[in-house]
Symmetry: D3
Subunit: 291 residues, 6 copies
Amino acid sequence: MLRVVLPKGSLEQATLQLFEDADLSVSRASDFDYRATIDDPRIVDVRILRPQEIPRYVADGLFDVGVTGRDWIEETGADVVTLSELHYSKATARPIRVVVAVEEASPAKSVADLPSGVRVHTEYPELTRRFFETHGVDAEVSLSYGATEAKVPEIADAVVEITETGRALHAAGLKILDTILVSYTELIANPVAHGDAEKRRAMEQIQTLLAGSLEARGRVLVKLNVDGANLDRVIALLPALKSPTVSKLFGNDAYAVETVVAKSEINILIPALKEHGATDVLELPISKIVH
Amino acid sequence: MLRVVLPKGSLEQATLQLFEDADLSVSRASDFDYRATIDDPRIVDVRILRPQEIPRYVADGLFDVGVTGRDWIEETGADVVTLSELHYSKATARPIRVVVAVEEASPAKSVADLPSGVRVHTEYPELTRRFFETHGVDAEVSLSYGATEAKVPEIADAVVEITETGRALHAAGLKILDTILVSYTELIANPVAHGDAEKRRAMEQIQTLLAGSLEARGRVLVKLNVDGANLDRVIALLPALKSPTVSKLFGNDAYAVETVVAKSEINILIPALKEHGATDVLELPISKIVH
Amino acid sequence: MLRVVLPKGSLEQATLQLFEDADLSVSRASDFDYRATIDDPRIVDVRILRPQEIPRYVADGLFDVGVTGRDWIEETGADVVTLSELHYSKATARPIRVVVAVEEASPAKSVADLPSGVRVHTEYPELTRRFFETHGVDAEVSLSYGATEAKVPEIADAVVEITETGRALHAAGLKILDTILVSYTELIANPVAHGDAEKRRAMEQIQTLLAGSLEARGRVLVKLNVDGANLDRVIALLPALKSPTVSKLFGNDAYAVETVVAKSEINILIPALKEHGATDVLELPISKIVH
Amino acid sequence: MLRVVLPKGSLEQATLQLFEDADLSVSRASDFDYRATIDDPRIVDVRILRPQEIPRYVADGLFDVGVTGRDWIEETGADVVTLSELHYSKATARPIRVVVAVEEASPAKSVADLPSGVRVHTEYPELTRRFFETHGVDAEVSLSYGATEAKVPEIADAVVEITETGRALHAAGLKILDTILVSYTELIANPVAHGDAEKRRAMEQIQTLLAGSLEARGRVLVKLNVDGANLDRVIALLPALKSPTVSKLFGNDAYAVETVVAKSEINILIPALKEHGATDVLELPISKIVH
Amino acid sequence: MLRVVLPKGSLEQATLQLFEDADLSVSRASDFDYRATIDDPRIVDVRILRPQEIPRYVADGLFDVGVTGRDWIEETGADVVTLSELHYSKATARPIRVVVAVEEASPAKSVADLPSGVRVHTEYPELTRRFFETHGVDAEVSLSYGATEAKVPEIADAVVEITETGRALHAAGLKILDTILVSYTELIANPVAHGDAEKRRAMEQIQTLLAGSLEARGRVLVKLNVDGANLDRVIALLPALKSPTVSKLFGNDAYAVETVVAKSEINILIPALKEHGATDVLELPISKIVH
Amino acid sequence: MLRVVLPKGSLEQATLQLFEDADLSVSRASDFDYRATIDDPRIVDVRILRPQEIPRYVADGLFDVGVTGRDWIEETGADVVTLSELHYSKATARPIRVVVAVEEASPAKSVADLPSGVRVHTEYPELTRRFFETHGVDAEVSLSYGATEAKVPEIADAVVEITETGRALHAAGLKILDTILVSYTELIANPVAHGDAEKRRAMEQIQTLLAGSLEARGRVLVKLNVDGANLDRVIALLPALKSPTVSKLFGNDAYAVETVVAKSEINILIPALKEHGATDVLELPISKIVH
């Protein structure tokens, strides 16, 4: 009963993968199709459209739920409800940033140092106008269709661009003056639909599945055995994320312990567990975690 | 001690993947080799040959066990024992269908409407002759070497072809009149070898491994914790596929529950479990299930 | 605090995969970069260099820990400490062998049959000189830059080459006379660094993570349920690798058993478990095993 | 001395190929670079930017010469001089068309039949507004960021899109109502630069090279021998494109004739030449033709 | 006005390339389409079908002209007219051979040595039956669907297969006993259509274009200058393929000579020309040659 | 009768392409084969080996003729005869340079500024030793197996490396101090074989074919017509490379002129020709030029 819109383009592959991991696989006749389906009773229609246009379409009620970036929500000023941030982007779990950049040789240290009449090219003209106004700079803002960073200094004096690591801007001989926005992918909803109790419950269930898959990506299940004498020391080592599941083993004074651990802590934890008496430590992959 | 024959061609990749998943990896010097080995004491010889020829070779005792499609078993009329259907095909778990198709513009609504002398091209001449005879139509059946659907209407009046979704036939401007056969991949055996107790036991063990891998593809392991008060409500939600494994947790009035769930039900089940008091719900991938 | 050097070239991909599996992911700006990082407090610097040069650099103290082949440790005669063999190579878990090969038509049956002045081309001149000296043959050893096996008989009379299966040598018309060395990939350390207690502990922890990942590759977790009457028979079937984890199920006289099994035994074990009363047998993938 | 701007994106590959064929190879540090050079004394600077922005930059004098589509010249209304049409596009020599399309089921037969308030989505909002105004229809025009044809009927009532064959629109269930513009790629110039005699001469020379390469693509050189008696009949068969080059052969009453022929006429011409007495007919590829 | 049928499968790519080189480009909506067009007034319809079926369809008058192998013409015994051999196959200009092969260890030296009842598998059952009958051997011939050479010795005693170099048969452990047929690709015609004067003329014109392209592949145009004193010596060196075109140069006692030479002779000819006084020797590629 | 050795590795593809262009195609059973053949009566044997080893093998008389780089001839100090430089390398016609490079931050301005004991890593130890000796610097030279530029500053103080554009060294943070050698690919011969008149003649003929192909790469044939009044002006424009071929046209006072022009001059020449009265200017590709 929910109409869903997903982003075409750079976020497309990662979004479809997330929905598949969440057991909400998106089916299309071909990879270039804009119409799709999800075999789920809560979802009646799926469209794949440009992320720039998604906030407006969700605000206008053409769709109940959408996935797009915070950058486009701000740029369009669309009236939507954020259900949750989804911490993934094109290739990583990091957010993108919308920044102001100028030539490396420029004496400017922040946007406030830029002169009146500064030529700014950007794919985010609204966001840019508001930001420069806030900082009291009278900028001449032009819509850019791409290749924006290549326009400095001949065509533009400054650019407002997205960046993840800053590497592409640096390679183009630019330096970052200010960050306008840190932007994660978001799951958004139409405010009216969100006010409807039944639709809201369906939205929250879908959000539970997506969040459960995202969270599982960075975690593993650790299982271990430990005898009674060492149980407390071993449990004390485990991360506080959730309380571990402890069962008594049959036939001897020993315990099976299992818990979920962030992958980034495993390299420290496993040697420590072993040193404190844990045996038969196993690490298993997880597909989904719901607290 | 079993001699095994596997299908070359469109089923080849999927069949080798299934055997690998079943811990019966097929080794070849190169991807184009027709001779192979499986490192398993029950299997002495492996050959990879055209699926059309496999029923006859198994019936003749050249091999004890084979994998091929029901379509070729019917076409050849070979005397073989079916150990089990294996629900996979080239890319999906769906069966193929052998259908009769004619031009979309044709007035015919079923095979019985086709005129005497109708020119039918097919890769299944025997199956086709039997089907048309049964329906009382005197057809002129020609063996086709491929590109069959492209022959209507100039070269053929009707075709008998395999199809999974009907899309290719539709794209060629044809409509389906009748389905002759719904065909799954099958694990077949030579009747004499199947009558030998020791060989039969080996065949059944191999079938257990293949079926265990196929079944695991569509399922996941769900683990959750629940306190005593909610245990019965949570268990009542779980699918009846098998009874869940319940262990009492150490040190508090809570239980660890684990069960196997079909992937297609997860999107509904997990939100429901959470709403009924389950905590720390985890979903884990499974490689094999044997009941 | 450890400086680490990893091998560029044929072992590179497999080594980086192992470190990633061990939750010690190696990050580089590009696939062609020689400088890298591992986000781990025990590791301060990572370099990716030719395996031939790694033993010398570790011996000289330019790095604390390195990964290279036993062949290059022997060739260079470098003074390093072996922390452990790592049983993987370019594509498999098998070692490579350094062998002496000659024309198939040669009457020689071992190195001792080769005449004085025999022209031997090899990428391992030191190893070769030592081996021929030991066998009392006065050889004329030349450093080969590659394509070594193609030089017999016009340019060389014998070659000393690595081989995994012997297939490439056979295809070049050569036969193997003797094996000089069986060479696994090794994790090596600088002796002085290894004498430092804190560094040694860090090395051992890293070795634990690498070994845990390697071991997990060939194993799976088997879970099953069994009633009290069959418990002992089922447990008797399980491999002695480690004692199984047994928990009593809640509410009936049955037990949950889980254990780790080598993949190569699964094809025999699962049918046997089923025949002895095990039910709901599940096989799950494992990412790491630490005893 | 000319500053040149070339189109990034769908026309990029074909434009760079044309410049290379014209012996004006464009060099870049990488395929993603926006700055380039052409080793030619008439050209001082080369940039590769979005075709949408090129008309404005050329009109503003940021560049002297540019390559872009007629569609973007019209959309921007930029004041530029057209040096010549260049008959190539992404993959063929055909132009693209900018068309108005609506649902196939729509009763409208032309733009004039569309109702007031019709929602039109397009990447060409200016062109669209002017066209609808001219036809007296009060349209609500929205800028589309892509996937435009997928928006009918839910999001848009009509679209203004480019098409080459109409196939993609047809596949999306749309029909074409009107053609707003037939658009070729064009070589354009800044009016002031074009007024400068020296720059104008350089522009014309470059245009000569580009046109010479484009024309050569569809033509071949035909050489043949013919004796005096048949000379006139054979020459009469040759296309009137240019007068053939005739030389008398040494030592007998025969002539060598060569001429340029369109590839599309060769299949008819060569058999005819042979039937009229031409011998030793040769067809040779041509790289450039300048009349 | 001619209906044309071209071979799908292993000959497809090479056939379409030949038609394109002959300025008879074959257009299809997609690479998998069986219907095509050629923009030529002599050709009304093009189909791409299995080469096995083409002789029969041409004989039956479903098509006027076809391209297929001599092997299938013989196998089907179809009544068709051969317009010309076209000396190309999958990858080379060499013919294929249809041969009888047996195990290398077999004592048989020719087909006549094979025992009565010999099991022969082949994709050419008719050709095989006729050949064995002629040689007085009573064979049990089975239609093979592929992988034929892999069936010896368990499933078949002998095979009848195509081969170009014999390498695949050798690699499968087989030896060739006899060659049944040397088979080139052929341009064939329906006998009735060939009897029609107008159609015959069209067929011959198309054959001229195809043959002209094929011949040009192995040849180049050589141009050179030579002074009067050396003219005869240089001309004497030129291959007798066709008489060279000689023109007197303007303003001095020198001559321009051009002629067509086989690529395989160029490596000998050019040094010889230079040694005999030719200067400014140029080699140019040719697209088509019609004598 | 010549035995030929060609370079395996980075020069391999370009070398085989040159031999093919020269109508001396190199045939191998597979791309990884070290033994090859050329179908030419002057060449009896072809081997493809590492360029490092080729100078020594040619000097030792194992081969009569070889292709390798000047760098390896100098490094090995082998006694060979250079037949000609072949101006091609991996991807371009430019030579490589062997240079000394150090950290960009180093104060050294030339090799003479480097301190005694400087650690130099290189694939050219002999060349390096000789160069440092000549410059009076006592260096500690180590053989490097690759990744050489990555060793500065931790493992090496300076490197001696090949470079074409200097870009890779710059990217690694290094600066070039001195150029030891500018190295082209060369065609070399064994001195004894070169002293044999018949072999020498064969070598020179092969060199003629290779040089003719290389020269043709950068040139095109220009053909044009011009009337008598403009003939001298047009001829005066043509490059002096060779005198143009002029023939009088039949039937009017006009001339056909053809000449060979460097591609790099075409962009200037063609507009000039047109401005001076040339008509019907054609540019044709050339395969080989022999003066």
